[in-house]
């Protein structure tokens, strides 16, 4: 039954993925004027060069054929050549993607680590000073624009106090041969704790910047669902049975209260993926989101297209995982 559920969800993805590829393709048609001229910009290109670029990008074909080619190429991971980076777009994406994934995961971890304990305490002590403070912090958290928060954190922790590096992923001396491209993972695989510490030191500030609004949101969700669970009969019964408060909270209540938290966290991953564009820019983090923004400045349209498509597909995948996880945690939804 569970397998059937997963298969059904996978099948439902097909129209969504087709739609996503269509939207990304249609974006290119929005460019006012001739994309080739815009891409060549001030470079003095001959007519022949412009024509060969047009042929390379398939811009001489009718839109329907261009879309078919785009999908066929995307399925094989072939996105053409980047003009700015002067190499295949797929290579650029593969090189930069791990940095974005690593930053997103650490930001999510920070958000959960902050949100769950705060949410639980706020729920258990509803109306207390802690609860009120948590509410204020969460409102501040969702209202703070990430780019400004990042700048303020750099000013305080990197410039004034000197505790944190201003930018980058790792110090030059610790750079290791690439395995996954995620430095925290690679350093452990190389058994280099010093490099791990250095990478962790670099990722903390950007990840905290990215994760704050998420932490604020998840704290509210955890608080609300914990309050609801605490009013359930089985909790009242467990307490009446004489079980210790801590045991009831952690073993009985928290497990159920976390279902909405985990679900919302997965569903809102898109917020982190989008926020990466800002945080990677502010902290000079060489990830995929930053590449998309730079590609726009450089009018490197194939990179923009590939980057947006890859991030959307990742987000769809995370949502699918959330769906499956939710049905696993909460068997009531699986009829």
């Amino acid at each position: 039954m569970r397998l059937a559920f997963i298969v059904e969800r996978l099948l439902q993805l097909i129209p969504v993925l087709i739609g996503v590829s269509l939207v990304v393709f249609l974006m290119t048609l929005l460019t006012p004027g001739d994309p080739v001229e815009i891409m060549l910009g001030d470079q003095r290109a001959t007519k022949e060069q412009a024509e060969s670029l047009r042929r390379d990008m398939g811009l001489d074909l009718p839109p329907a054929e261009r879309y078919a080619r785009f999908v066929a190429n995307a399925l094989t991971g072939e996105f053409g050549r980047s003009f700015f980076h002067r190499r295949p777009v797929a290579d650029v994406v593969a090189e930069r993607l791990p940095a974005t994934i690593e930053l997103t995961i650490v930001a999510m971890a920070i958000a959960l680590a902050v949100a769950i304990p705060l949410g639980v305490v706020a729920a258990v002590r509803r109306g207390s000073l802690v609860d009120k403070a948590a509410t204020v912090v969460s409102l501040v958290g969702v209202s703070m624009p990430a780019f400004w928060l990042g700048i303020v954190l750099i000013l305080i922790f990197a410039v004034q106090l000197g505790w944190m590096p201003v930018s980058g992923r790792i110090d030059y001396a610790y750079e290791l041969p690439r395995i996954t491209g995620m430095y925290l993972v690679d350093s452990l695989l190389h058994a280099r704790l010093d490099a791990f510490a250095n990478a962790l030191h670099h990722i903390l500030l950007p990840a905290a910047t990215l994760g704050l609004a998420m932490a604020a949101l998840l704290m509210r969700v955890t608080r609300a669902s914990m309050i609801e669970v605490l009013e359930q009969d089985y909790i009242v019964f467990a307490e009446a049975k004489g079980l210790g408060r801590a045991r009831v909270l952690l073993r009985h209540a928290l497990k159920n209260a976390l279902i909405p938290t985990v679900t919302v966290a997965a569903l809102e991953t898109g917020y982190l993926l989008g926020g990466n564009t800002i945080v990677e820019t502010v902290f000079g983090w060489p990830g995929l989101a930053r590449v998309i923004v730079e590609a726009i400045y450089a009018r490197d349209f194939p990179v923009v297209q590939a980057g947006v498509l890859v991030i959307a597909v990742i987000y769809v995948g995370v949502n699918l995982a959330a769906d499956i996880l939710y049905s696993w945690l909460n068997p009531r939804v699986r009829q």
């Binding site: 974006m27 700048i151 303020v152 917020y271 564009t277 726009i296």
Partner: protein, 299 residues
């Protein structure tokens, strides 16, 4: 003060649901203050030409990176200091309020109108109409918001009209989902069945019966979304993909100051405070509105 406002609201004596809700909202002191702060921002934006001490576009290289009035080398007639081109930061923030708020209002309005129409159609007619609209919503939801907007801005190029379009293209899905769900529920209610039984047209039922009854969740969602849209516009402008200079957008003002963080922190800081203040006020007021209008919270 809040009691006075509550009394003013209830002066009409007619106890419609909206009145009761508004009275509940006015009694929530913090939300009321936040709502006043939002009104203050609106007034500042509207009265910008009279309030701004200087011309926001007037460059003066002699005042380049001049510190705020209270610091050494500052000048009180340029209270918050000057930016890289010697323009008065306070005046630019005041003018920036116009851009931030008008984009927020226009995007949310357009998105609400489109989303409400499509959501009503999807929920009321069901069938193929619902499938098409819901699939479109699913596809758009598959894109992280900022990535979608950045991709569009990258293709369309910067500019006021393009920002509004880039945000509306995705934003309508939010009100559409709310309205679709509410319409589905309303369709089963007796008042809709009664209207259908007496032979009312679909158009009449949608416009006259369902829409007035589902409007308040739409309004509540719209206020919350306003805060998100303001941050998104500021983010796009920060990345240099939004409004073009010399227009004063809070996001691009923060970006301008980034290169001079060490010697002139005020260039980035004050516009950031303005965004934060406005968004916080909108969020707190919206939360108060939601609490007041959500009947599930009435104990």
């Amino acid at each position: 003060m809040t009691d006075g406002a509550a009394a003013a609201v209830s002066a009409g004596r007619s106890d419609s649901l909206t009145r009761i809700n508004l009275r509940r909202f006015a009694r929530d002191r913090i939300s009321f203050v936040a709502a006043l702060a939002v009104v203050l921002f609106v007034v500042v934006a509207l009265a910008a030409p009279w309030l701004a001490p200087h011309d926001p576009y007037d460059t003066d290289l002699l005042r380049r990176l001049q510190p705020p009035g209270w610091m050494e080398g500052g000048d009180w007639s340029y209270v918050l200091g000057c930016d890289t081109l010697g323009r008065d930061i306070l005046s630019r923030i005041i003018y920036g309020a116009r851009i931030s708020m008008s984009i927020g209002v226009v995007v949310v309005l357009l998105a609400c109108v489109a989303g409400t129409l499509l959501g009503l159609a999807a929920g009321y007619f069901g069938g193929a109409v619902d499938v098409i609209i819901s699939r479109l919503v699913d596809v758009l939801l598959a894109f992280p918001y900022l990535i979608f907007a950045i991709g569009l801005m990258g293709m369309m190029g910067p500019g006021l009209q393009n920002i509004v379009l880039a945000l509306v293209y995705k934003e309508w899905t939010i009100s559409c989902r709310v309205v679709r769900g509410e319409t589905l529920a309303a369709r089963e209610h007796d008042y809709v069945r009664a209207a259908r039984a007496v032979g009312a047209s679909s158009r009449h039922i949608m416009w006259r019966e369902i829409l007035p009854n589902i409007l308040s969740p739409v309004i509540v969602v719209a206020t919350t979304r306003m805060a998100t849209i303001i941050i998104l516009e500021a983010s796009l402008s920060f990345l240099g993909l939004g409004l073009q200079p010399p227009l004063a957008s809070w996001g691009s003002m923060v970006a301008d100051g980034r290169a001079h963080l060490l010697e002139a922190w005020w260039v980035s800081t004050f516009p950031g405070v303005a965004i934060f203040g406005l968004v916080l006020a909108v969020n707190v007021a919206a939360q108060g509105l939601r609490d007041a209008f959500d009947p599930r919270l009435v104990r």
